[in-house]
């Protein structure tokens, strides 16, 4: 999707450092900007800081130093009470799905709407339509325990979309699904991006990235080493690094 370079950034990282427990530094001066409608593959070896970078965006952590601004909010100064409002503008998809096993697929997808206190009658049709869109119309009343990995991931994707977020973060969304389902999920994400949603997808699968012809944000040792199109000589998979 063509990005308007003059539009206000929805995510800004400036010289961001993140240290766990005061000793393990996972981000070492990370800089990048994401604008409305952008699509980025976040790549890099294991331990490069991809998941940590995503956690900073959805305010699971605050930076140790540097500036992280999400939708105009500086996370270092942002009161904890304001975090829920920020998170409601972000849909997150995890490799391990993070669905609630005691709820059905419908109820899992509807969860963000229940949290917002929306009348069930007003989102019921939207939830069913979303589940149909991800190909799970026949699994609406099924709990996650009886769904396959691919089905769970599509439920998680539908849950991330139901509140119509401005930004989707997907952490290895194809990691636990077969290649065919992985490509299908990626196509769904691209379709969403075409509708205007900014998306960041963390992945090891550079072959998939190359096939979809999207810009990448490559992290190595906690720093952004590449921000742009994927180079031709890139291997099919990121090497495994130290955690």
């Amino acid at each position: 999707m063509v990005t308007d370079q003059n539009s206000q950034a929805i995510v800004t990282f400036e010289d961001v450092h993140l240290t766990y427990d005061g000793v393990r530094e996972v981000l070492r001066g990370t800089d990048f900007t994401l604008r409305p409608g952008d699509f980025r593959f976040l790549t890099g070896p294991s331990g490069a800081g991809k998941t940590s970078l995503l956690k900073l965006i959805y305010a699971a952590h605050r930076p140790t130093t540097g500036r992280v601004e999400v939708f105009g909010n500086d996370l270092l100064d942002m009161p904890s009470e304001e975090m829920p409002k920020l998170r409601r503008r972000i849909g997150v998809v995890f490799q391990e799905f993070r669905l609630l096993d005691h709820l059905t697929a419908f109820e899992n997808v509807a969860l963000p709407m229940r949290v917002l206190g929306v009348n069930p009658n007003s989102y019921r049709d939207d939830v069913i339509e979303l589940l149909s869109w991800v190909g799970l119309a026949h699994r609406i009343d099924a709990p996650p325990t009886v769904l396959s990995g691919g089905e769970k991931q599509r439920v998680a994707l539908a849950r991330a979309l139901v509140s119509k977020p401005d930004l989707i973060l997907a952490d290895e969304p194809t990691g636990n699904v077969d290649p065919v389902m992985g490509e299908k999920i990626m196509r769904l994400l691209l379709e969403l991006n075409r509708l205007g949603t900014a998306i960041i997808v963390a992945t090891h699968d550079l072959g998939l990235v190359r096939g979809l012809k999207q810009n990448i944000l490559r992290l190595k040792d906690g720093k952004v080493t590449l921000h742009g199109p994927i180079p031709d000589e890139t291997p099919a998979r990121e090497p495994e690094g130290a955690q």
């Binding site: 956690k55 959805y58 305010a59 699971a60 952590h61 605050r62 904890s80 009470e81 975090m83 829920p84 409002k85 998170r87 409601r88 997150v92 993070r98 669905l99 609630l100 005691h102 709820l103 059905t104 697929a105 419908f106 109820e107 509807a110 969860l111 963000p112 229940r114 949290v115 917002l116 069930p120 019921r124 049709d125 069913i128 339509e129 589940l131 149909s132 119309a137 026949h138 609406i140 009343d141 849950r159 509140s163």
Partner: protein
């Protein structure tokens, strides 16, 4: 019809509680709350039983006076008693002046001296009782003075010292019963706080997901608190019902203890208070759980991982 239209018609999913029942409000916790509610009910019933007894004693004993007339001979006693009775009958604030019949006075001695063993010339004291108004009881000095001047062997007893001690002792028991009730209710709250914290830890994954989708701490505390509202209501109802049944059983077993000892019976007021136990426990459980969860979550990012 498309898949979507089919689904619209067939969807069965509803609003399953976000926090599952197991692990938060387990059966064992319901039993604990029920037992505590039972103990609270018994303490409350005891409080009201003693309260009613104290009111009865105070009302009956402080509303009467007794004049005892002694003497060396029955004739002296009779003359003194006549004079004392006349004074009592003419005193404003006294009513129902009654002299204890000779037969009843002798019956009082029967346990020690036996029947028909009393000599005719035994100088048995005469007891005269009268109902007294609160105004006169507050100042019996002048009546006592008048009596002693007219009948030196007469003594006036208003039961004050004895009643005061009895009422004081009963009041302490009543206070202890109420304290036991309050402590049991507080213990219930403490149990709920511990359970809510344990429930929060047990459902940490759910809490994380809720935070991820934008739930506030208040929303999460409300979800967990709602589980304990039902627990408090149900456990409290069962416990209060058991307390009611136990009290009814006690009332049947003990019967009427002569109107002196506190009777374990349930009047309408006590029943209303028993009914308040589940409401009290439900409300306190909800508040305790919410506060515990809010305090655990406050300012902590660790629940978003």
């Amino acid at each position: 019809m498309s898949d979507y239209e089919d689904s619209l018609a067939d969807v069965k999913s509803g609003n399953t509680p976000i926090i599952p029942e197991s692990g938060v409000s387990g059966f064992s916790l319901a039993i604990v709350i029920g037992v505590l509610a039972f103990l609270a009910g018994i303490a409350l019933t005891g409080f009201f039983a003693v309260d009613a007894a104290v009111s009865g004693w105070s009302g009956e004993l402080t509303g009467t006076i007794t004049v005892q007339v002694r003497g060396m001979t029955p004739e002296e006693i009779r003359i003194g008693a006549d004079a004392a009775e006349e004074i009592l009958r003419s005193t404003e604030g006294l009513s129902n002046v009654t002299r204890l019949p000779q037969e009843e006075a002798e019956a009082l001695l029967e346990p020690w001296l036996g029947m028909d063993n009393l000599p005719d010339d035994l100088p048995l004291p005469v007891l005269i009782t009268a109902d007294v108004t609160p105004e006169l009881r507050a100042d019996l000095g002048s009546l006592r003075q008048t009596l002693v001047e007219a009948v030196p062997s007469a003594s006036l007893n208003d039961h004050g010292a004895w009643t005061d001690q009895l009422v004081a002792a009963a009041s302490r028991i009543r206070g202890l019963a109420f304290m036991a009730f309050v402590l049991v209710i507080l213990a219930s709250s403490a149990v709920i706080v511990f359970a809510a914290r344990a429930g929060l830890a047990a459902h940490r994954n759910i809490v994380e997901v809720l935070h991820l989708v934008g739930a506030t701490d208040s929303f999460i505390a409300q979800q967990i608190g709602n589980r304990y509202l039902m627990l408090g209501l149900v456990g409290g109802s069962v416990g209060a019902l058991a307390a009611w049944l136990a009290t009814k059983f006690l009332a049947v077993v003990t019967g009427d203890a002569g109107g002196f000892l506190p009777a374990f019976s349930i009047d309408a007021g006590t029943a209303v208070w028993l009914l308040s136990i589940p409401i009290l426990l439900g409300g306190l459980s909800t508040i305790a759980a919410r506060v515990a969860v809010l305090r655990a979550l406050r300012g902590e990012d660790r629940y978003v991982a």
